[in-house]
């Protein structure tokens, strides 16, 4: 089972029917304050679009994420600023969908719809938190995670955060994978290692869990605690109306360790 599903299941308090099976929606009780709305893009082997069956963000996923986020904005349109519910993106996306149908319909616009919704939520005062539990690659991460006000990631060898997957990165930049790996030791933004990524200024927390593939209840507790803290920082630092994406958090990147 994909990490996008296992972590969604571990954190979901109450799940909701979604418009599309590849976009999972739930509430997550963070223990204080309004429940957070969880969104996760999960594999759907029966997806009507064959190129989006492995958890990629394609056409349906773009609309599904946008609808899920915009619904939260609507639900909270009348509540006090500090009561707007947090939105949490569980991120394990291999990429955008690579397909001809996707291009014909204009996948860029469907991904733009998701970006638009997430950014609108953030500017409206919703804490938007991304929790990277697996892959966070290319258009998938742009659509689902990179408009967050805070980005957390598991401190785990299998986390991959990059502009494109490794074989393509090597091919397009005319290198072997070995050459790319060697270069990434000195040119840090080329690295696929989450610990190196965390030094670049976009990381608001690395979570040391005991079992990243099958989170224990302690792991889920750790994640909930980190999300709760991230929500607090987001509420304290959200400059409503402007772009809060920035290089360094006021509190600075920090690490958390599990008990395991």
């Amino acid at each position: 089972m994909s990490r996008s599903q296992t972590w969604f299941d571990a954190l979901a308090t109450q799940t909701f029917p979604s418009w599309y099976r590849s976009v999972a929606l739930a509430d997550c009780d963070l223990g204080g304050g309004p429940a957070a709305r969880l969104l996760s893009v999960v594999p759907d082997p029966d997806n009507a679009f064959p190129r989006a069956r492995r958890g990629e963000v394609g056409l349906l996923e773009g609309i599904g994420l946008a609808r899920g986020v915009r619904e939260v904005i609507e639900l909270d349109s009348d509540v006090a600023d500090d009561q707007r519910r947090p939105i949490v993106a569980i991120v394990d996306v291999p990429s955008q969908a690579y397909g001809r149908l996707e291009e014909q319909f204009g996948e860029y616009l469907y991904i733009a719809a998701a970006v638009d919704a997430y950014a609108t939520a953030r500017v409206a005062g919703h804490p938007v938190i991304a929790l990277v539990v697996g892959s966070a690659i290319s258009g998938g991460f742009l659509a689902h995670g990179l408009q967050a006000s805070q980005v957390l990631a598991l401190d785990d060898d299998q986390i991959e955060i990059q502009a494109i997957h490794k074989p393509a990165a090597a091919r397009i930049t005319l290198r072997t994978i070995a050459e790319l790996d060697e270069l990434a030791k000195t040119v840090t933004p080329l690295s696929f290692d989450v610990r190196v990524w965390a030094t670049l200024g976009y990381c608001d927390g690395l979570l040391k869990v005991s079992r990243a593939d099958r989170p224990t209840s302690a792991d889920a507790d750790l994640a909930r605690g980190a999300l709760r803290d991230a929500v607090t920082w987001a509420r304290a630092t959200l400059p409503t109306g402007s772009s809060p994406l920035r290089r360094s958090a006021p509190a600075g990147p920090h690490s958390r360790s599990g008990s395991g």
């Binding site: 109450q14 909701f16 029917p17 418009w19 509430d27 429940a35 009507a48 679009f49 349906l60 773009g62 609309i63 946008a66 619904e71 639900l75 955008q96 690579y98 397909g99 001809r100 996707e102 291009e103 014909q104 319909f105 204009g106 996948e107 860029y108 616009l109 469907y110 991904i111 733009a112 719809a113 970006v115 638009d116 950014a119 609108t120 500017v123 290319s138 258009g139 991460f141 742009l142 990179l146 408009q147 990059q162 502009a163 494109i164 393509a168 990165a169 091919r171 397009i172 930049t173 270069l183 990434a184 040119v187 933004p189 080329l190 690295s191 670049l200 976009y202 402007s242 772009s243 994406l245």
Partner: protein, 298 residues
Amino acid sequence: MSDTPALVTERPELQALWHRRSFLELDARARAFSLLDDGTGQEYCDPFDRIESPWLEPQGLVPQADDGVVVVKGRLAGEPCVMIGIEGAFQGGSIGEVSGAKATCALQLAARDARAGQPVSAVLLLETGGVRLQEGTLGLNAVAEILSALLELRGLRPVIGVVTGPLGSYGGMSIVAGLCTRIVLTHEGRLGFNGAQVIESEAGAAEFDSSDHALIWSVNGGAQRYATGLADALVLDDVPAVRQAVITAVAGGVPARHRSEELDVLAARLSSGDDQARFSLTGLGIPPAPSPGPGAAS
């Protein structure tokens, strides 16, 4: 102007072609100045400021003193406007840390001016393959920041995307096009997320044959995008024609809803009979209409 041949004089429909000044043959800087009112353009962070990418030289690549993005502020039909031109001839028009920051700052400053009562519109001249892979995650985040800044300005003033080719607009930067208030294309402009070669290498030639140029143009081409309602103007590759289309697009102001907010329209496109016929989707079982959303837990 050279002597006009008799053929052109006799056939008025050829005159626009004969007299045109190609826009797509201009570099990014010339494009930006050519669209603004004569003599009003001023470039910011120009090449003599030498704000270069620090990431290229260690990889054996020659940096460029403007990092491939040209920011020129001036007037368009008398109104303040900032042009953000991407240079397709440098690293495939890719966006890195520095070029991305230039575009983001230009959009943020325009938004700041707009909030202060001095409305500045923005025009993005998109000639780009997307994220600069030589700058990895910093390029990816740079694009995310452009998207955020574009959305900040879009509610205040029009942000117009211009895609004339020859490269077109692809990759993460095509999301920029998806967020623009309006899109101006030429027949030579292409717009899409994944290029044919990328799809072919990911999914095979049966999915997308990158040697089939007719197929590429029928999917990503300017005429196709315009015909299917994804662009607002399709113009001749001609400086005055592009400029007029951009002036008209800016004059349209800020709409009540942008394309990227019309979720009902986007969903309907996937399931309508017309589109099913056009894109051979019959039988794929695309959900026809939005089902009820999640319960309103409050």
